[in-house]
Structures are given as structure tokens and as C-alpha cells.
């Protein structure tokens, strides 16, 4: 269980300008939660606080009832895997090395057969088996993104936070990625929180949508409640056209009056 209680955060030293203001919400178990909102709304910051990478100014994040600040780094790494929005490509390693790093919380670098199997599975899942010996800097942006996601899969945690995982993925892989995430939830009982920019992906694949604006959660609910003209205008300051398609609401964002 992850609960966010009265969390505020600020990047200023004295907290004059709040990046997050009084955030309260509980992560729905075994569901994909989509975090949506305009650029700068505070989505990444919230995930960072939830993963205990950033300290909160006030309030707390509880993981199974314990404040994350009191959870040991290694114990946390077995519970929560977090893929940041941008990856530092500072070292030259192969896809396989990277995915093996994902097993680090479990084996501290000494891989057992189980760890190797998990690595192979993750590579298989992300369709990277053929590229496993390639260096990351020799891959396309999307292939690299898949390699990082494979690492997160290998980490095999009950909670997975993904900050814009569809970055750099083409349509085929975006859809495939979302289906993989769905399978993680339905087959492996994971709980996923992901930042999505394409509202239609959120509507189609998420079980729950949390909308942020200016550091606050302004709406949350299941997709049917959230994909309305009124809600979306409040969140994005933008008029979407909502159409029914196959029983689901679809947003159109091109001005073609």
C-alpha cells in the first residue's frame, strides 16, 4: 500500500514557491494509475517524492504503513522500481549489463540462476534478446528506452513507477508497452503508476487517472469520469473534442471545426 499524506514540496530553499501543495492520495493496488497534467504540473516531482528520491517539505509517503524516509534503501529497491523521465547515459554498458543491474537489489551483483532467468525474461518481454550484447549508445532512442524498461522489469518489484515511459517509442511499441504494463498488472499483480502525456493512452489502458495542475491534484477518477470535456479543460486549459468510439471516450485534439 502506498499512501501520500499532505505532501508539499518545493525546490526553493525556504519553500516560497511550492511545486507540490498538499497532495493526498492512495495508490490503487493492482491497477494502472495514469498521472496526467500539463508540463510543469509536478508529476515527476510527485513520483520522485513517492520513490523517496526527493525529500518532501512536509507530509509523508507511507509504504505499507511505514514512512518511506525510514525504509532502508535496499528494502525500498525491492518494493519500488522507478524509471525516471530522462536517463543519464554516462557509462558505456551493454543492454544485458543494464538489465542485470536491475537484479542488484536482490543479488548484490552476484547473479544466481534465478536472476539470470529474470534477466532473460525481461529481455524477452521487451523484445531485446537479439540486442542484448549491444552497447546502449549504439541503440536507437526507442530501443534504449526499452532497455531501461527491461531493467525495471528485471527489478521485479510490486510497485512500478514509470515517468513518461512512452518517450521515444513508436506507435507500435507504445501500444505494445501499454499491453505489457497491463499484463504486469493482470498476470503478475503489479501496481503501476505512470506519467502519460497522451490522454487517449491513459483513457484506454489505465484503471485510474489522477490529474495534476500547478502542484495540486485537481481531479481523480476512473477514465469514464475523467474523459469529459469539462474535466479536461480544467486540467489542460485546452478544449478537446470527445467522441465515442467502440464504447469508450476518445479525445481529439486537432482544431478541425
Amino acid at each position: 500500500m502506498i499512501e501520500v499524506k499532505n505532501v508539499s514540496q518545493s525546490y526553493n530553499r525556504h519553500g516560497q514557491r511550492k511545486t507540490l501543495e498538499d497532495i493526498n492520495f492512495s495508490v490503487r493496488e493492482h491497477t494502472i494509475t495514469a498521472l496526467v497534467g500539463a508540463n510543469g504540473a509536478g508529476k515527476s516531482t510527485l513520483l520522485g517524492v513517492m520513490a523517496n528520491l526527493l525529500p518532501a517539505l512536509s507530509g509523508s509517503v507511507l509504504l505499507d504503513g511505514t514512512d518511506v524516509r525510514r525504509v532502508k534503501t535496499n528494502a525500498m529497491a525491492k518494493k519500488v522500481a522507478f524509471l525516471k523521465q530522462t536517463q543519464l547515459l554516462s557509462i558505456r554498458v551493454t543492454v544485458n549489463d543494464l538489465v542485470e543491474f536491475g537484479r542488484f537489489p536482490h543479488c548484490a551483483g552476484r547473479l544466481t540462476q534465478l536472476d539470470r532467468d529474470k534477466v532473460s525474461q525481461a529481455l524477452e518481454y521487451m523484445n531485446l534478446t537479439e540486442l542484448r550484447e549491444r552497447y546502449l549508445d549504439e541503440l536507437s532512442g526507442g530501443q534504449r528506452q526499452r532497455a531501461f524498461i527491461a531493467m525495471i522489469l528485471a527489478q521485479d518489484t510490486p510497485y512500478i513507477f514509470l515517468d513518461e515511459p512512452l518517450n521515444n517509442l513508436d506507435v507500435k511499441y507504445s501500444v505494445e508497452m501499454m499491453k505489457i504494463v497491463q499484463r504486469l498488472v493482470s498476470e503478475l499483480n503489479k501496481t503501476v503508476v505512470m506519467v502519460l502525456h497522451d490522454i487517449n493512452f491513459a483513457a484506454a489502458y489505465a484503471g485510474y487517472i489522477v490529474a495534476m495542475k500547478d502542484g495540486r491534484i485537481i481531479r481523480e477518477g476512473v477514465p469514464e469520469e475523467m474523459i469529459t470535456r469539462e474535466t479536461l479543460r480544467a486540467v489542460f486549459d485546452f478544449d478537446f473534442r470527445i467522441e465515442k468510439y467502440g464504447g469508450k471516450n476518445v479525445c481529439l485534439y486537432f482544431d478541425n471545426e
Binding site: L53, T73, A77, I91, T94, G102, F104, G109
Partner: protein, 320 residues
């Protein structure tokens, strides 16, 4: 690749044991039970060869860890003030405690090296420099400052002679070799922590996500680097370039996953210095030159080639 490095290692160790100003240390003599030959082997050749292997392996690893921590291929103990601070620490132990055992000297050198390196890395982190070459340049200026201070203090306390005798690295120095065995401990630590050092190379948040305590591992890495630099400095003096070129050559082969490369890197570093040492003993036989000189010349040339190739490669990439 590994087999090649190991084979070379075995040959070079054998050669290193055979060569010296006193002839007669041959397998034949040893097998025949020649006592002088045996004594020379035991008390002069083996310690010397061990000192070469350990200091070379140590400095290569120190450079590798330094480069992983700083995410900068131009970093090494010699470009972060570490070596110079070790020299300063050695001088301090000489001034305050006069003639001391190697252990105490190493301890002083270690503490000064660690403090200086911590200071440098924390300042660098605060500056957030974008251009990677500025950092080692700053480090060299910083090291220059420390060694100028060392010289000034040495003048003031009439310790110039002592400093001058250390000024050039040498494996011919007697008595202090035992100190180099201290290097074994940080070497074992660095093999154990190899994966962690690679992971912190991917950034603080990345490391934390994988359950690695970033600051602790960085501190441990800097301590390993400082101890290796201090012990090798006290035992054999400065060996320039090793910490720079060996890790660069190794990572261009193996990538930056330290776990894969660290053992080979040690052997490769040892191979390199063994060759340099054998050359410095043969060139003006039966005398020998300072191994620092040989290492500098050969290492400098290799580094230049490496730099030029890198620059050429970059330019090629840009135009494509």
C-alpha cells in the same frame, strides 16, 4: 583477450624475476640449488616484482574507480590532487615524527590524500561544470598547488633531500616495498564493490532506485583510491599515467561494467608496468633508469594517440 593478458603476465613475471644487475638468477641455477641465486630471488627479485604488480594493478583500479565516480575519462589520482596530497602527507609525517616506519608514513599520506580528494570532488560537484576536460585541468592546478606547498614546506624544514629522493618513482628502492602489500586490501574491496561502482556511474537517483547508497559508495571509492595512491607513493613513488591510460584502454575493450573488466584491468596494468620496468632495467644495463621516466614516455605517447584518435573519431561522427 583474457588468455592473452594472462599469458603475457606469466612471461613478463618470469622475465622480471630473471633480469637484474646481478646475473646468474636463471632457472638452471635455481634448480641446481645455487644459494646466492636463491637469495637474490627471494630478497630482491620477488619483492620487486610483487611491488610492480601490486602498484600497477592498484593504480589502474584507482583510476578506473575515479573515472566511474566522476563520470570522466580524464580523471585519475594524478588529476585530482590525490597523489600530490599523498606526497604532502608523507612530508608531514617526516617533519612531525622524523623517521617513521612505512606504515605510519602511509597512514599520513592516506589521510591527506583522502581529505584533499574529498575536498576536490565536493567543490567540483558544487561547480556543476559542463565541460569534462575542465575538471582534470582544475585537478591538475589543484595538485600543482599542493605540490608547490609541499616544496615550500620542505625547504622551510630542510626536507628537500628526502622529497627529492621520492620525487621519481623507482622499484629499486629498498626497504619500503613491504608497504605495497597494503594495496591488497583495497584491491579486494574494489572487486567486491565493482558492480556498485558501475551503478553509481549512472547517477544518484539511478543508484538509489537500485538500492545502492550513493554517498557511501562514493566515499568508499575515494577511500580506496586514496589508500592505493598513498601506499604506492610511499613504496615506489609516483607512477604517472597508469591511472589514466590503463582504465581508458581497458574500458574501450570491455565497456564500463567494472565487474567484467576489473580483474583483466589489474593484469593488464601489471603487464604494462612490467614491460616498462624491464625496459628501464635493460636500456642502460647494468644501471637502471627510473621507471617513472619509462612509464611517462611510453604512457604519454599512448595517451596522445588515444586523445588524437578520440578527437578524430568525434569529428567523424559530427560530420556524418
Amino acid at each position: 583477450m583474457r588468455i592473452l593478458i594472462i599469458a603475457l603476465f606469466v612471461v613478463l613475471v618470469a622475465l622480471s624475476l630473471m633480469i637484474g644487475s646481478l646475473g646468474g638468477v636463471t632457472p638452471k641455477a635455481l634448480l641446481a640449488g645455487d644459494e646466492t641465486a636463491l637469495r637474490v630471488l627471494l630478497y630482491s627479485r620477488i619483492p620487486r616484482t610483487a611491488a610492480i604488480i601490486l602498484s600497477a594493478a592498484g593504480l589502474s583500479v584507482a583510476g578506473l574507480i575515479m573515472q566511474a565516480i566522476s563520470r570522466n575519462k580524464f580523471m585519475s589520482p594524478a588529476t585530482s590532487g590525490t597523489t600530490d596530497a599523498a606526497a604532502f602527507g608523507l612530508l608531514m609525517s617526516f617533519i612531525f615524527l622524523s623517521k617513521q616506519s612505512g606504515i605510519v608514513q602511509t597512514l599520513f599520506a592516506f589521510v591527506f590524500a583522502l581529505v584533499a580528494t574529498l575536498l576536490f570532488t565536493s567543490v567540483i560537484n558544487r561547480l556543476k561544470l559542463r565541460e569534462v576536460v575542465y575538471i582534470p585541468l582544475l585537478g591538475m592546478m589543484y595538485g600543482g598547488l599542493i605540490s608547490a606547498l609541499t616544496t615550500a614546506v620542505a625547504y622551510r624544514f630542510d626536507a628537500m633531500q628526502m622529497m627529492a629522493s621520492i620525487g621519481l618513482g623507482s622499484f629499486a628502492r629498498l626497504g619500503n616495498f613491504a608497504i605495497v602489500y597494503i594495496v591488497v586490501a583495497p584491491l579486494i574491496l574494489s572487486v567486491m564493490y565493482a558492480s556498485k561502482f558501475s551503478i553509481i556511474g549512472l547517477g544518484e537517483d539511478f543508484a538509489k532506485n537500485l538500492g545502492v547508497r550513493y554517498r557511501r559508495v562514493v566515499f568508499l571509492g575515494l577511500a580506496v583510491i586514496s589508500l592505493i595512491s598513498a601506499a604506492t607513493f610511499v613504496a615506489v613513488g609516483p607512477l604517472p599515467f597508469i591511472g589514466l591510460i590503463i582504465p581508458n584502454m581497458a574500458t574501450s575493450f570491455y565497456g564500463d561494467n567494472l565487474k567484467k573488466s576489473i580483474i583483466d584491468l589489474m593484469l593488464f596494468g601489471a603487464d604494462f608496468v612490467l614491460v616498462c620496468d624491464i625496459l628501464s632495467r635493460l636500456i642502460i644495463y647494468p644501471f637502471e633508469m627510473s621507471v617513472s621516466l619509462t612509464v611517462s614516455i611510453i604512457g604519454g605517447v599512448i595517451f596522445m594517440i588515444y586523445l588524437l584518435r578520440g578527437m578524430y573519431g568525434n569529428r567523424k561522427q559530427k560530420t556524418v
